[in-house]
């Protein structure tokens, strides 16, 4: 099995894109990724290659429709849906094909257009009973928050600090949907969505696309590329059957995915310098600090309060990109954009939001609300500067 390198990334600005068709968003991200990789576009036709596209609501043959715009067709293409983890699943699928030797170079892309006039909640999972009965995502996370508060004494103020940090990071990232900082007071006093979560405790609904180019050791050599970022481990798991679905004070499947990824990488949480974490709601970030091993169960509130997850805060710098909270959450694009951010960070090219001494990064997504399952999928990837 070969090593897998990330050799290029691209990402559109996230946010409302009413005038750009979704396959065109994808094309722009792919074209930027190919250009940044230094791989000639024709190489994807001439070498064993593969493309994976992640999205949740954008219709059939998404990869084909997007890639034919750049003249790329005829190669194996997979269209992947895993709700919010669709994009991560696309990267993991593409990486598996490269690692196995079936493809030398791969394109993993993700895209979504979700904004519509008036805003509102994400579309519910078709045919899902609890969703049809009103279990919207903010409500599920609100009940997670309640359980975490009850069990560990986590506070509304600590949760608000997650939004403050991620909006502060996002203000340094021109590709974010939200580019303004917020204060804890603003987060706490913004209108209630699902108690105790307020509007500024939730990520925005956004449009956008992202893409990454992966290459094997032999492709890197043959194409004369300099390997700079290695995708050292990936783990994709699905949710177990649980009595209350996602309503818990932990994410068991995130714990499981992280454990697999750490084992495969031969690394542990203490080795991680930065993390792009799935933070659709403030409480999720606090819980996932614990799931990913950055602190012990129950200590997530203190972790944010002490500033450990800030850029240069002394712990794992979490979501230097601004996270879903600032960037937005175009489902299919989300996980791919996390890898893009990690690539820029590990290269030291993240500008004013650069994490100092970024050598090992972890990306994490969770996707899908399904009655009786914790959720659909959790994906963890570990990347290393070469």
């Amino acid at each position: 099995m070969t090593r897998v390198y990330v050799v290029g990334t691209g990402m559109t600005t996230f946010g409302p894109q009413p005038d750009v068709e979704v396959h065109e968003l994808a094309r722009r991200a792919v074209w930027e990724a190919i250009a940044s990789s230094g791989v000639a576009p024709a190489e994807f036709k001439q070498r064993p290659s593969v493309a994976f596209a992640g999205h949740a609501y954008q219709g059939p043959c998404f990869a084909q429709k997007s890639l034919m715009k750049i003249g790329l067709q005829g190669i194996p293409m997979f269209n992947v849906e895993n709700a919010c983890a669709s994009g991560s699943s696309a990267v993991i699928g593409a990486a598996a094909m490269v690692r196995s030797g079936e493809a030398e170079i791969a394109i993993a892309l993700g895209a979504e257009k979700l904004t519509r006039p008036g805003g509102g909640f994400l579309p519910i999972v078709a045919g899902d009973l609890e969703s049809a009965m009103g279990r919207v995502m903010p409500a599920a996370f609100a009940m997670q928050a309640q359980l975490h508060m009850q069990r560990y004494g986590t506070t509304r103020e600590q949760m608000a600090l997650v939004a403050v940090k991620n909006r502060r990071n996002g203000a340094l990232n021109p590709r974010c949907h939200f580019k303004e900082e917020v204060t804890a007071e603003q987060v706490l006093s913004s209108p209630s969505i699902a108690q105790p979560l307020t509007r500024l405790s939730c990520c925005p609904v956004s449009d956008g696309a992202a893409a990454v180019i992966l290459a094997s050791e032999s492709a890197v050599r043959a194409l004369g590329l300099t390997p700079r970022v290695e995708l050292v481990a990936t783990a994709l798991v699905s949710g177990e059957r649980t009595p209350y679905g996602i309503v818990d004070d932990k994410s068991e499947m995130s714990v499981r995915a992280a454990k697999i990824a750490y084992e495969r990488a031969g690394l542990g949480p203490a080795d991680v310098d930065l993390c792009e974490l799935h933070d659709p709601f403030t409480i999720a970030e606090i819980i996932h600090y614990e799931d990913l091993g950055f602190c012990r169960p129950g200590e997530g509130g203190a972790y944010i309060e002490k500033g450990l997850s800030a850029i240069g805060g002394g712990g794992v710098a979490v979501s230097p990109s601004g996270g879903l909270m600032s960037k937005g959450h175009p489902l299919g694009a989300t996980g791919v954009a996390q890898v893009a951010e990690m690539f820029w960070q590990l290269l030291g090219e993240a500008g004013s939001r650069q994490v100092p001494r970024a050598r090992v990064g972890l990306t994490h997504t969770v996707g899908g609300g399904v009655t009786k399952l914790e959720a659909g999928a959790s994906a963890v990837m570990i990347l290393k500067a070469v």
Partner: protein, 143 residues
């Protein structure tokens, strides 16, 4: 139903979740494994825990349970009441369920609070049709 009985049509959100009869309280309809005794709600087509087919039978039960967690959604999706409350329920029969609370507004909700089943409006269609389903009424301790 006679033409004059009601102006508002009332339809269940799903036909297989509950039974309502004029005499007696409503009941949930799930399934029960003849081998392990485990109760599932909503009903399963086979036992997904033991991965066995052919051991489940229809099982009606009263839908009583305890409140595990809850939240109030300020503005619901189109057709939903605003605000409405949602609860995570540990049903006494075994399964968990996340559903809307009913008659909750003036009560002090607390973890472990008993709830009982009621059939009520989940949402309204554009034409006014009421979509009904299982909801859970928090039961305050007798003074």
């Amino acid at each position: 139903m006679s033409e004059t009985a009601s102006e508002i049509a009332r339809v269940p959100i799903r036909p297989d979740l509950f039974v309502e009869e004029s005499a007696g309280p409503p009941r949930l309809v799930g399934s029960r494994c003849r081998v392990t005794g485990q109760v599932f709600f909503p009903a399963e087509v086979m036992n997904p825990v033991t991965m066995t087919e052919g051991t489940l039978e229809r099982h009606e039960f009263d839908g009583a349970g305890k409140l595990v967690a809850w939240t109030v959604i300020a503005r619901g999706l189109p057709g939903f009441d605003s605000p409405y409350a949602l609860g995570t329920i540990a049903l006494d029969a075994g399964p968990g369920f996340i559903g809307q609370l009913h008659d909750w507004q003036d009560k002090t909700l607390r973890p472990g609070m008993p709830v009982r089943l009621a059939i009520g409006r989940i949402k309204s269609e554009k034409d006014g049709t009421e979509v009904v389903g299982p909801k859970f009424v928090p039961v305050e301790a007798q003074a």
